[in-house]
């Protein structure tokens, strides 16, 4: 069984400089604040459409993306706000996108489920379950053929491992030895179906054996563990040692979508995971380091809250696309 941390010992943080650690914390807080803020905008009726949120899964996005270079790429899913923020998209361009504004990262035509910015290494998210997996293999094939040193980190959920695209996409990456890291965020539920109802595997990383690649299961709520596993996997795949399948064990603190009452998560299970909140876990460890205190972390949270609030005011007034823009950038 993979050890799930109830605390992060400061010994494991030695060797990292404080700026790097605080950046990890800030990115996770940014994701949480963004998602919480968007949730209330939705509940107020101010935010159009439904949304799929990732509160509780911040460490997976931040840990993996921190191990990537700026010109590396990610593919994401319908639950993609965290991935986007971790890859360097700004809260502003994402809020503008959510409000359908032309200044949004996809000119207001993508919305919540298609966040992306090619200049920042994120193809617009693919909302079809497992749909990003063959795409990531294709992108990595392009990198390999062009002999760039870029890699792709491909995010998907536990539900995607039952899709044909998962097996087909990873098989291709494996036989062609493509520079890609497959990142399975196992939050225990595919929509409302618990993972143990759809597979007999105890570890989803065991799928790696069937592809002949390396697989590893890591505590996805421990941002340092995620970062270290991702860094190793990124290095291997960049060196031509083949794709890697990472399984990151995590938990979402909200329903599948904003319309999901989430009655299927059991009380005991929720408590266990909520007690291991990735931001709390990491924040507690940080404040034990000399030179970092709670005030500093609170300052980070306050700054991000303010930045979010200011961005909302702007986003709600940004211009919407005009009718003659209807078919621009539309390919099919």
């Amino acid at each position: 069984m993979t050890q799930l941390a109830t605390n992060i010992s400061i010994g494991r943080l030695s060797g990292y400089d404080h700026d790097f650690l605080l950046r990890l914390y800030e990115q996770m807080v940014q994701i949480r604040e963004f998602e919480e803020g968007v949730k209330y905008l939705f509940l107020q009726g101010s935010m159009p459409g439904t949304i799929h949120q990732c509160q509780g899964q911040e460490a997976t996005a931040v840990g993996v993306c921190s191990a990537l270079n700026e010109d590396d790429f990610i593919t994401s899913t319908f639950r993609g706000h965290g991935h986007a923020l971790a890859k360097g998209l700004s809260m502003e361009e994402m809020l503008n996108e959510l409000y359908g504004a032309t200044s949004g990262c996809c000119k207001g035509k993508g919305g919540s489920m298609h966040m992306g910015n090619m200049s920042k290494g994120m193809v617009p998210a693919i909302a079809i379950v497992g749909g990003g997996i063959p795409l990531a293999s294709g992108m990595s094939l392009a990198f390999k053929m062009k002999k760039t040193s870029q890699i792709t980190a491909c995010f998907f959920g536990d539900g995607a491992t039952s899709e044909g695209a998962f097996h087909e996409g990873i098989t291709l990456a494996a036989i062609w030895n493509l520079p890609v890291v497959f990142v399975c965020e196992n939050n225990l539920y595919g929509a409302s179906t618990r993972v143990d109802k759809v597979t007999r595997l105890k570890k989803l990383s065991d799928h790696a054996d069937s592809f002949g690649i390396r697989g590893e299961t890591v505590d996805g709520n421990d941002v340092i563990a995620v970062y270290e596993a991702a860094r190793k996997a990124v290095e291997e795949s960049r060196n031509g040692d083949g794709p890697v399948l990472l399984e990151l064990l995590t938990y979402r603190r909200t329903g599948h979508s904003r319309r999901d009452a989430c009655h299927y998560q059991h009380t005991d299970e929720k408590k266990e995971w909520f007690d291991r909140d990735p931001i709390d876990l990491f924040g507690r460890a940080l404040t034990q380091l000399s030179g970092i205190d709670e005030n500093q972390l609170e300052g980070i949270r306050d700054r991000i809250t303010q930045q979010f609030e200011e961005a909302v005011v702007v986003a709600q007034k940004e211009p919407q696309p005009s009718l003659d823009e209807l078919t621009t950038d539309i390919f099919a």
Partner: protein, 360 residues
């Protein structure tokens, strides 16, 4: 300052969401993220969190109102200038589920209140937000003198019975039962003070245990087995219809059951809102015998699988051991949801029920 709380867009197919309960009373403080009210969407029941901290000043939508996304449903009194988000720390979480009344794994059993608390119809009429009230307003504009105001309960009964009659394929079985053993038992039991309904409730509860399919419900094209062990008894209170829940009648005597029914009916008449809410049951019993009805076909109370109608008890000419005899008998009619139960099974249930009643 006042802040309007609007209905979020929670429905996946339609535009309307039904308010089930307020979880905060007017005048109570509420924090951002705390559950404010409970709704039923086309998919599930769920709690909705308050988007602001403040004090609940007014509940505009009432339980059982179908409300469009975006409609104002409450007013909050909030201190100071409007803030979209306060200083919520990164790991705050609303207390979801804490007030859910049903088992977490059986959320589909949550049923809308068919007998909600009395709605304040005057307050609703002024909002003009809710479809059904809009219709009512249009009607009253046309015909003010002849319009009778509809109570909240009657609106709910009407809507649910229409839904039942139009969407549930009812079939009906009719029989009659020898009432003599029940009459003797009643005299013996308590000098004739036991409510007649109590005998039927006890007998039905026993028969349900032998015919589990009768306790199933139909949900999302599936038959769900979620027996509640509850028999509902329809009660008329000043012209409004309510259903009183009777728990575990199979293991209680008619005297005990009678006191449960009488107590609940008394509480209803005294205006106890707890009894006005719907409690999930396996079946409802409706008795029009006191009004001299010879036979009638009741409408199923969704999501139950059947409803038993009881008519008047009267001496009838019958044949006993080849001889003409006079016997007190009661007519029974059972309306059944054909999606859940077929005719033969329901007939066997009814036959067993007759045996139970005749063996008091």
């Amino acid at each position: 300052m006042e802040v309007e709380i609007k209905m979020p867009d929670l429905s996946t197919t339609g535009d309307e969401v039904t308010v089930l309960n307020w979880l905060v009373e007017v005048g109570q403080p509420i924090k951002r993220g705390q559950a404010l009210f409970e709704v039923e969407t086309d998919k599930a029941t769920m709690e909705v969190e308050s988007v602001k901290s403040g004090v609940l000043k007014k509940q505009i939508a009432q339980p059982d109102d179908a409300v469009s996304a975006g409609a104002v449903i409450a007013i909050l009194e909030v201190k100071g200038p409007v803030q979209d988000s306060g200083k919520s720390g990164p790991s705050k979480e609303s207390p979801k589920h804490k007030q859910t009344t049903c088992n977490e794994s059986t959320s589909q059993s949550a049923v809308p209140s068919n007998v909600p608390p009395q709605a304040d119809s005057s307050a609703q009429a002024t909002t003009g937000m809710f479809a059904k009230n809009r219709q009512a307003a249009q009607r009253s504009a046309v015909d003010e003198d002849t319009t009778i105001p509809m109570s909240g309960t009657q609106q709910a009964v009407g809507r649910r019975m229409q839904q039942s009659k139009q969407t549930i394929p009812h079939f009906y079985l009719q029989t009659s039962v020898n009432a003599e053993p029940m009459i003797s038992q009643r005299v013996l039991a308590d000098g004739g003070k036991v409510a007649w309904d109590a005998f039927f409730v006890c007998a039905v509860a026993k028969s349900l245990k032998k015919f589990p399919r009768m306790s199933c419900r139909f949900k999302d094209e599936q038959i769900i087995s979620l027996p509640t062990g509850v028999v509902g008894v329809a009660v008329d209170v000043d012209g409004d219809l309510y259903v009183v829940p009777v728990v575990d009648a199979a293991s209680n005597t008619p005297e005990q059951t009678s006191s449960v029914i009488r107590k609940a009916a008394g509480s209803l008449r005294a205006g106890d809102s707890e009894f006005k809410k719907l409690h999930a049951a396996d079946i409802t019993i409706t008795n029009l015998g006191i009004a001299n009805v010879e036979s009638f076909l009741p409408i199923i109370n969704p999501p139950e699988a059947s409803i038993l109608g009881i008519s008047k008890m009267e001496p009838r000419v019958t044949v006993l051991d080849g001889e003409i005899a006079i016997q007190n008998r009661v007519s029974l009619s059972l309306a059944v949801d054909h999606r859940i139960v077929n005719g033969r099974y329901a007939a066997d249930f009814l036959g067993n029920l007759v045996e139970e009643i005749e063996s008091f």
